[in-house]
């Protein structure tokens, strides 16, 4: 089945098995392996991308359902060779260890803060319920996201 979408600003076209999950399409067909798979029940959030600017777990959608959409993955988050502020904040605040949940965490957090500048710590913790990390105990992830949220609010 023919599918076309714009991924990280590049038009992509492919013939896919209709049952192909978007995450497998990104990883296998486009070799965008930054998007990870950590579960098979849409709990962990490692596969989080942006679809038409909205946060989406790419294991919950078939590739064909994304036909005509704009997709941004972790590989497309940086602009002009500069890290996105959320990437910088994760690095500065030690918001990652093994790094496997990190692309999904950053994608989810970047969109959350864009939509909720000035979010409180409690709001951040509540929002991150959909992204699971086994290494950090969330402490430094929350710190990183809060730093960007404060900065986005002009604090």
């Amino acid at each position: 089945m023919q599918v076309s979408m714009t991924v990280n600003g590049v038009a992509q076209e492919a013939d896919v098995d209709p049952r192909t999950l978007l995450v497998h399409f990104l990883r296998e067909a486009l070799d965008l392996t930054g998007t990870k798979i950590g579960c098979d029940t849409s709990q962990c959030g490692a596969c989080t991308v942006h679809l038409n600017g909205k946060v989406l777990k790419s294991c919950t959608l078939l590739a064909v359902q994304a036909d005509g959409c704009e997709v941004t993955t972790i590989e497309g988050l940086a602009e002009g060779g500069e890290h996105h502020p959320m990437q910088t904040a994760f690095w500065e605040n030690h918001g990652l260890q093994c790094g496997y949940c990190t692309p999904g965490m950053i994608m989810a957090s970047a969109a959350f803060v864009r939509d909720n500048p000035g979010a409180s710590e409690a709001e951040i913790r509540h929002y991150l319920e959909g992204n699971i990390c086994r290494c950090t105990g969330y402490h430094n992830i929350v710190k990183a996201v809060k730093q960007v949220a404060d900065s986005a609010a002009g604090a």
């Binding site: 098979d40 029940t41 993955t73 030690h94 093994c98 950053i106 105990g137 969330y138 430094n140």
Partner: protein, 786 residues
């Protein structure tokens, strides 16, 4: 002098590739023509295999081959920790089941296809006829009369029986003690859940007979010799690469059937073969942790002197003995029974029991959380029995500060410790003296606050290898490292250990930077490839910083000695007149004459002008066998509130004071503690693998297994004390597991403290709201608190 790099919380050198998605984990690596392997797995916990019909699967589009246990000529997967004097049985563990399956998930056949979806479809089309047998999951039940026999050659399902201490001596202490408290403690099964599922890909070159295996491993050199042993390939023809690895927590130590099967299939078919587990598959087949039923007693005097502890432990091994499994509920468990206390009598009988569960093995802390929990639980029980404040009881029994060696009743010699200082610091941070009043006030208004205080020490950075041999570990416990400096003065440090999230590329670079004065950004730490790196035993047991770090410190010092002699020669000075500071060698009294470490490295490579007898090059290696374990310690405190109407527990504050010696990178240390605390607290509060009576894993996905989430925790309050290890070249101790070891009893005891006024004395973990609510109702029916 510039700011010291040692002790600085610099940003991690690993992170640029991780925050951009550029890192390559095993499943991210592609090879042309790769076949995908799917495994047909048993849906029964215990059954005879009557027949396998793979004809339908073989006819499916894209399917290249289907193989069963009869086709696969691999040696059995070995157990590598052979506990002596324990009547250990090591039942055969074939890579694919032959005749019988022993847990849900046991592999029965493999399918190779050109696409991962097609491989899975075909696996589903393999028809296996089973004759179901009675199954047993609970280890105590499995060791009892009439339990179904899981392996014909493991009588009574008892794989080993390990005894520590003298039973008669223990009886004498317990029979004459003022107070004896007891409890049956369940250390529930936990699912390690490294966020990256396990994956393996193999490629075989028939002309050179070389096998390359990329896999999710904490110890590629161990994987290499096990794969060599099971495939029959010479070890020097096997290259194991652990690329980026997304967490392990012990679950990526063992060599599993899957790694052996992709290797075998790649050799058999002559094309690369890849396998990546799904999360649901991970929960069925990747090792589980804990699974103890413990019968524990502690003896004390009426005035609060702890006299002894003893336990009978039934440790569930699952359907097969995993790589290190026998060592976990024995050596890594019983030897910690004294903890930080002056207690003279210890006794442990640990019975390893085969069950129809997933095999168990080392999971973060590995035996030590199970020991620390029982100890701290019993100390709280003694406090209650003699009506003494649990903090006062601990204070009375802590071992006083010592700097160089303290032998305890388990025969361990703790390296250094100052438990009282860490204890008092944590109590100050928590405001303990005020808390008891606040708790009483809250209770008066119907609110249930509780506090849990854990004093702990633990053993990590295991060694020397002589001890490994004495306790049956089929390997050494040293590490090796090479510090290689290029002609332009850049450093490659090659290590045998294999970090997978710990930040060791940064921490170890800081050690080298401190020793030799190279900028930390000029130091790359290379790991994870058996061809590129020297032999090492792997990253687990909080050993990489203490053991590999020591190897690197020594190798760096050898280089510095060479540099000093060469610098003296180049500056035509006496070696004794050479002064070193911040990567520069100068002649005493002539400060303008200097040679930087980079200058010296270049001249060592050029070798135009070497001192008599000095070899060219600028590279040194060190094998380092630690003289003793290291013993980090500390005190953790949790404050909780329990909603008595719903049973819900709110973790309000968590204070952790840990002492791992001098901290090389305090931010990385803090991260290890944060993560460890959440893992341990989650055991107390929500995690637990649940099986049905017939051996089906009911918590078989992330929908059913309660992983800790961000909104369950407060920000953590960390403090530290610094007590160097006397035997380590830079004084450091491991810190990878302390959080997990200390936090489970801390949170558990806090909840039980909150529930004490309601008359609740014990609840099996995890303390879910349903269980807490049920316990409150049951206690209330029994007359409630006093």
């Amino acid at each position: 002098m510039t700011t010291r790099i040692f002790g600085s919380g610099i940003k991690r050198r690993e992170d640029p590739r991780l925050i951009t998605g550029e890192a390559r984990y095993t499943d991210d690596i592609k090879l042309p023509g790769v076949l995908h392997m799917a495994v047909v797995r048993s849906p029964y916990a215990h059954a005879n295999i009557v027949g396998i019909d793979s004809s339908a699967a073989e006819a499916m589009e894209g399917v290249v081959a289907v193989f069963t246990g009869d086709d696969v000529d691999l040696a059995g997967i070995p157990t590598a920790w052979l506990i002596p004097d324990s009547d250990l049985k090591t039942p055969e563990h074939p890579a694919l089941a032959k005749g019988k399956v022993r847990y849900v998930g046991d592999g029965v056949a493999i399918v190779l296809a050109d696409d991962r979806y097609r491989a899975q479809d075909a696996a589903d089309a393999v028809v296996v006829e089973y004759e179901e047998l009675p199954a047993v999951i609970d280890p105590e039940e499995a060791a009892g009369e009439g339990a179904p026999l899981i392996h014909d050659d493991v009588e009574g399902n008892i794989a080993f029986r390990w005894v520590m201490g003298d039973r008669d001596a223990s009886d004498a202490v317990f029979n004459s003690a003022d107070v004896v408290v007891s409890e049956r403690i369940l250390q529930q099964r936990l699912l390690p859940t490294a966020m990256e599922p396990r994956s393996a890909m193999a490629q075989y070159n028939a002309a050179t007979q070389e096998l390359t295996l990329w896999c999710t491993s904490q110890n590629p050199h161990i994987h290499r010799f096990i794969i060599s042993a099971v495939t029959g390939l010479n070890e020097n023809k096997v290259r194991v690469i652990a690329p980026e690895v997304g967490g392990g927590f012990g679950s990526k130590i063992p060599c599993y059937p899957d790694e052996a099967l992709v290797s075998w299939a790649a050799i058999k078919l002559g094309v690369p073969v890849k396998w990546t587990e799904t999360r649901s598959e991970n929960y069925l087949i990747t090792i589980h942790g804990r699974d103890h039923v413990q019968h524990v007693e502690m003896a004390a005097s009426n005035d609060g002197k702890l006299l002894g502890v003893r336990a009978t432990v039934y440790a569930g091994m699952g359907g097969y003995l995993s790589t290190a499994a026998p060592g976990i509920p024995t050596i890594l468990h019983g030897l910690l029974y004294v903890g930080p206390y002056t207690m003279d009598s210890v006794f442990c009988e640990s019975i390893g029991v085969m069950t129809n569960g997933t095999p168990t093995d080392a999971y973060r802390g590995a035996g030590r959380p199970e020991a620390t929990f029982l100890l701290e639980r019993m100390v709280d029980n003694v406090a209650r029995a003699i009506d003494m404040d649990p903090v006062e009881l601990r204070r009375k029994n802590l071992i006083p500060a010592f700097e160089d060696g303290y032998e305890v009743a388990t025969t361990l010699i703790y390296d250094s410790g100052d438990y009282p200082t860490a204890f008092e610091k944590a109590l100050d941070m928590a405001g303990y003296s005020d808390f008891r009043q606040a708790q009483a006030n809250a209770l008066a208004s119907g609110r249930y606050l509780g506090i849990g205080v854990t004093a702990y020490t633990e053993m990590c950075g295991l060694g020397p290898s002589q001890v490994a041999g004495a306790v049956g570990f089929q390997g050494g416990l040293w590490e090796s490292a090479t510090v290689r400096v290029t002609p332009t003065g850049k450093v490659q440090a090659l290590i045998g250990a294999s970090p997978h999230g710990q930040g060791s590329e940064t921490t170890l670079a800081q050690i080298i930077a401190e020793e030799l004065g190279f900028p930390v950004d000029d130091i790359e730490v290379v790991h994870g490839d058996t061809t590129e790196t020297p032999m090492g035993w792997g990253t687990y047991g909080s050993r990489t910083t203490p053991v590999t770090g020591a190897a690197l410190a020594h190798a760096s010092r050898k280089l510095k000695d060479k540099a000093r002699v060469l610098a003296a020669h180049l500056m035509e000075a006496n070696v004794d007149d050479i002064e070193y500071a911040d990567g520069s060698f100068s002649v005493r009294g002539s400060p303008d004459q200097a040679q930087s470490i980079q200058d010296v490295a270049l001249m060592a490579h050029l070798a135009w002008n070497m001192p008599e007898g000095m070899d060219p090059g600028f590279e040194e290696s060190q094998f380092y066998d630690p003289p003793n374990f290291v013993y980090p310690f500390g005190t953790h405190i949790a404050i909780v509130e329990v909603d008595a109407e719903t049973g819900e527990v709110e973790l309000q504050r968590y204070i952790a004071v840990d002492d791992c010696g001098p901290q090389i990178n305090p931010e990385i240390v803090a991260g290890q503690i944060h993560g460890g605390v959440v893992q341990g607290a989650a055991q107390a509060l929500c995690e637990g693998a649940i099986y049905s009576d017939d051996g089906q894993l009911l918590t078989g996905s992330m929908m059913d297994y309660c992983m800790p989430k961000a909104d369950m925790f407060p920000n953590f309050e960390l403090g530290e004390t610094v007590t160097p290890s006397p035997h380590h070249p830079v004084g450091v101790k491991g810190v990878g597991e302390t959080g997990t070891i200390a936090s489970t009893p801390t949170v558990y005891n806090a909840v039980l403290d909150a529930l004490a006024p309601l008359g609740v004395k014990q609840i099996d973990m995890p303390l879910t709201s349903a269980k807490v609510w049920g316990a409150i109702q049951a206690a209330s029916a029994n007359g409630g608190g006093n």
